[in-house]
Symmetry: C2
Subunit: 332 residues, 2 copies
């Protein structure tokens, strides 16, 4: 029997329909991770092929925009948003629009073309995660900005345009729709129970354990109760932190640990799928400590989205999250 499940935060219903698992066509059969050769603007030595760097971890005797770096942050060459200018909100009859102000940055995660994120050392991943924080802290000073999202598209099927390992940051002058829905869900729950909904979810999940993939002292990775996608996996801090950037330095090594471990589990258990990785933190420049609980969402790209999902917003997921968690725990 298929099942409707409701995401307790945003109220989104999904359909868990294992019947549809019997159709091979539901699964993407393309090569899971593709490699192409050719010129790469992110490789060491090609620093002049990107816009000038904003930030880098580099050898002390090296110069900006020259070799010698370990991690490098540059503006996106084809930015979705532009940092200079004013919003200039205006109407066109019934319609509203404004200038596309914001930041769009790229984290080039290594000078090595072939190294993948999951293959980096714990320390290197810690450094990348810390640089995410550094950029957030810097961009927060821009009062025009309301939200910063950090994401990674790994593999062409997950939307990557270059294979050299990188992640991206987009800072927007609006709070994105999905985050607004999360905030509303947090507030509704808080008004009702005087508790953070994610803290309540974590408590239940750690007790039942059926959807837990991995846990460490301060973090847990789990399959959410009502996932949109098969093997969608979240990483949550056990402590109530609304803002990613408020975590202290010593927690970043442990976060690197559970993130690398979870990505290794997904790589091994699911035959190295392309994936998206999203960092959801609290809106910036507003005091909302009780209203959010930062988290990471990892979405392996295993199935495609079709008309029903686009037309309804209801996702059909062919795998029960309890089965997904068990599979990941035992096949890795």
């Amino acid at each position: 029997m298929p099942e409707f499940r409701k995401d307790p935060i945003v109220g989104r219903w999904v359909i868990i329909s294992t019947e549809r698992n019997k159709r091979d066509s539901d699964w993407i059969s393309k090569p899971h991770f593709e490699r192409v050769s050719g010129f790469c603007p992110f490789c060491e030595g090609n620093e002049d092929k990107t816009p000038p760097e904003i930030f880098a971890y580099r050898a002390e005797d090296s110069q900006p925009n020259e070799p010698g770096w370990r991690i490098r942050v540059v503006p996106n060459k084809f930015p979705a948003l532009q940092i200079e200018g004013n919003l200039d909100l205006r109407s066109e009859g019934i319609f509203d629009k404004m200038n596309g102000i914001g930041a769009h940055e790229v984290f080039i995660e290594s000078p090595e073309h072939t190294l993948r994120f999951v293959e980096f050392s714990f320390e290197h991943i810690r450094d990348i995660l810390w640089i995410f924080r550094e950029r957030m802290v810097d961009l927060k000073r821009d009062s025009r900005l309301k939200y910063i999202i950090i994401f990674k598209n790994e593999g062409f099927a997950a939307g990557a345009s270059l294979e050299h390992s990188h992640s991206q940051l987009i800072a927007t002058p609006i709070v994105p729709k999905i985050v607004v829905e999360e905030l509303e869900g947090f507030r509704r729950h808080y008004n009702d129970k005087e508790q953070c909904i994610f803290c309540d979810i974590i408590r239940q999940e750690l007790t039942s354990k059926i959807r837990v993939v991995s846990r460490s002292q301060s973090f847990v990775s789990l399959e959410p109760f009502a996932p949109r996608f098969p093997f969608e996996t979240w990483i949550l801090p056990l402590h109530h932190w609304s803002h990613y950037e408020d975590m202290e330095y010593n927690h970043f090594y442990e976060l690197a640990n559970i993130l690398k471990e979870t990505l290794e589990i997904i790589k091994k258990g699911l035959d190295d799928p392309p994936y998206n990785f999203l960092l959801h933190s609290c809106p910036i420049n507003e005091s909302m400590d009780l209203d959010f609980h930062w988290h990471i969402e990892i979405i392996p790209k295993l199935t495609s989205i079709a008309g029903f999902e686009w037309g309804s917003g209801i996702y059909i997921n062919p795998v029960r999250p309890e089965n997904a968690a068990e599979w990941l725990r035992t096949n890795s």
Copy 2:
């Protein structure tokens, strides 16, 4: 300069960023429409390979589930939802779930394997559109159901699992999230202006003409002001109809005309892309005549969705809808 645009109905912001158009990687380069051979359960003569038919237009001397049909409706063999049973809403601690009750039907649009929807005659498309209505009218009698969505996935990249031309219907016991958002937008606008927001949009679009692709006596096809996807195209009745199934028979031929014409324009102008087609009508079994305006959304599958979209709900569209409309008007 990139631009934020707000959908006036659901309040969703999109980014129109023509800068990103310069990246070839934004466009899907796979063969636009694929053909594979092999056994097809939808072909004439294979009627016993689908569940027994629910409805068909067939020759008078033919029998159900035998050859002789023109259009055939069958239950989906791998249904996302199941028609028998009760909802049985229940909790698992903090979480809510219920049985996956609903209908999932397939419209096999022709006995011919190779004929595509866009190639059908006007009369044949009219008959398919009329059968959509027939199934809606029948399913409305089931008081457990609240919404019926009809959609088409054309091409594997758009989520089709079989190439033989078909569309699908899913009836749900909940009003889908996207429709709830549309209803809220309609009501907000109505409370404010005492007008249907789609009627107001149509009035503005027919005056400015910049986003209109085609129009007939009773319908218009246009690019919406804040499209999520490049060349996203909507077909709207000029008359205020909340429910698709309330249209009279004589309007279905004209609807078939503008739908076929619009799909031909998209096929010619965009090199025959895969696409999704979604029919959004008013929730059933509720009186909401003032609250909705049925419409069709056509989404050509030209770009892929990546981490930013999944994490934010903000879509980056590399094509201005005004340019898309002009391209379609002049290249078809």
